[in-house]
Amino acid sequence: MIRFLIKGLIRDRSRSLFPVLTVMIGVMLTVVLQTWFRGVESEGVQIAASFDTGHVKIMSQAYADEYDQIPNDLAFIGVHDLMQDLKKDFPDMIWLPRIKFGGLIDIPDENGETRAQSSVMGFGVDLLSSDSPEKRILNLENAVVRGRLPEKRDEILLSDEMAQQLGVEIGETATLIGSTMYGSMATYNFTVVGTIRFGITAMDRGSMIADLSDIQTALDMDDAAGEILGLFPDLFFYDRRANGIKDQFNAAHQNPEDEFSPVMLTLKEQAGFGEMLDLIKSASNIGISIFVVVMSIVLWNAGLIGSIRRYGEIGVRLAVGENKNHLYRSMIIESLCIGFFGTVLGTAVGIAIAFYLQETGIDISSMMQDATMVMSDVMRARITPGSFVIGFVPGLLATLLGTSISGIGIYKRQTSRLMKELEV
């Protein structure tokens, strides 16, 4: 009997191939959409992590408490040793010491008088070490609008918008006026070698990027840094792993007595980011849910129609003496098989596409005439454990539900009615 049913299933393409294809396509779309949403989601997180929070971040206790003021006077000293420790204890992570600072940028004329001036938000990051990952993390190559990246000491990048306002040309001198770690005024001359635009409003308004060691010199912050960012090598955020690293680090380094001792915070613990993360997550969850519901309705209906189409065959089977329970069960098993194969195939294809999107991405910069979104010019997907199971909701559950419900018609209808369906 089972062999008989399987034979029928395989021979009748409208009962096997087409439903499997339908389920497969539906599941595939669901999986791709899910991974794409997760990709967009983690790209938002990635931008925040790369520019600001890291996946974890080390600051001094005191610096963290007054983070809003960028209190470089509270930065911790001994970056070199701490970096050695970090690389030893957490060799898989990317560790990035940075100094954030506020100040004025002054563009002098040929007489040394102020030609233009603007307040600036600065970042001292490691640009000059050959193995520094910062260029990649900040996507600097792509962000350059004019000029080039710094190659030697005392060279800086300015945001393109600000450079235009200041009327500063590549190769001109720019003087940073700020305050040292110890509160006295600092001035330092840099050469502007490039202008940049990230497509992130906060970064593009008025920022400068300089090499970390230059800033340490300029602000008298020898071997000091405001913060050390830690990032997972694939640049995806893993909440639990981040917490593990945090706990391990804090247990070893934190000293509540000493407000200059380093403390580690995860991305989620930093002001506002936990909420932001949850918001993005729930937004994409809603998007995914809506799609899953829509896809479920589609496949539910496919299951429904598939069985209604077969009332004739069902009528004959009943007339020949098959019992209703047996028939109902065989329909359910059939739709289970179809749902299962369709879902597995759809998930496989969907994951394959998502994998391509995750690893390579689709470059959409050419589609965007005004390439302001440098960080997002590649559309990426992200495969999560959920990607492997999400397809089963529309693929298996909905298909099964459609068949079960339409199958109830077998019970509801008089057998003679089912027979009528085939007399047309």
């Binding site: 009997m1 008989f4 004959v316 007339a319 020949v320 047996h326 008089q414």
Partner: protein
């Protein structure tokens, strides 16, 4: 009840609710069929022939009265019992042959046996025996789409008789066939009736079929208008 009575209806009523007034498809039908009969229910379209056969075949239930088939009261049978009755004792033949299109002739005829526990060797023998009856053993591997209408109906007959049922119910079996095929089909059924003793109940308004009937029951508006015995060669009628 007489031992040779195979089907008996008593004040059988079938009412279809149709909005305001109900539609009475069968109106107090009292009929008795003996084992081995070759009987036809005739009547104009809508007179209730199909309804009667469906109730006898336990595909449908009466609204009132009773139908006893092989000592079983069809209105009290569970789904499972009704299925068993159909599978083991009743063969159906339809106007539109209703073969399974994706299965071969052999597999179509084999289907009722798959529902019974039967070894594959026994199944094979039974299928070929019944295909011999309808002279289609050589087409066992064909698909229904490759058969003519007459051949398709013969496959349907083979499917109905493969399990050696006591009763074959045939609802307008020749309506879709030409004269030659109709005669051929009827002759096959007469032969089965005579050699296997299978009881046949037809519904028809085909004159060609009437010539073969040994009992003719006329239904009009759900009532038995006439019940005449045409030949007493085999089986007795009331």
């Amino acid at each position: 009840m007489n031992n040779s009575v195979i089907i008996k209806t008593k004040d059988l009523v079938k009412v279809y609710p149709m909005g305001q007034h109900d539609l009475v498809a069968l109106d107090h039908v009292n009929l008795v069929f003996q084992k081995g009969e070759f009987a036809g229910v005739v009547g104009p379209s809508g007179s209730g022939k199909t309804t009667l056969l469906n109730i006898i075949g336990s595909l449908d239930t009466p609204s009132d009265g009773s139908a006893v088939v092989l000592d079983r009261n069809v209105e009290t049978l569970s789904n499972k019992e009704a299925a068993k009755l159909r599978n083991q004792h009743i063969g159906f033949i339809f106007q539109t042959f209703n073969l399974f299109p994706v299965y071969s002739v052999f597999e179509n005829v084999e289907f009722p046996l798959l529902l019974q526990r039967m070894s594959s060797a026994a199944r094979k023998k039974a299928v070929y025996d019944s295909l011999e009856w309808v002279h289609l053993a050589d087409r066992a591997k064909s698909k229904p789409a490759q058969l003519s209408g007459g051949q398709s109906q013969r496959v349907a007959i083979a499917r109905a008789i493969v399990k050696k049922p006591e009763v074959v119910l045939a609802d307008e079996p020749t309506a879709n066939l030409d004269a030659e095929n109709s005669h051929h089909i009827m002759k096959t059924m007469v032969q089965l009736n005579e050699e296997l003793g299978t009881t046949f109940v037809f519904s028809t308004h085909d004159e060609k079929v009437m010539r073969y009937l040994r009992r003719k029951i006329s239904l009009i508006d759900g009532k038995v208008a006439k019940d005449e015995v045409i030949s007493k060669k085999r089986g007795k009628s009331t």
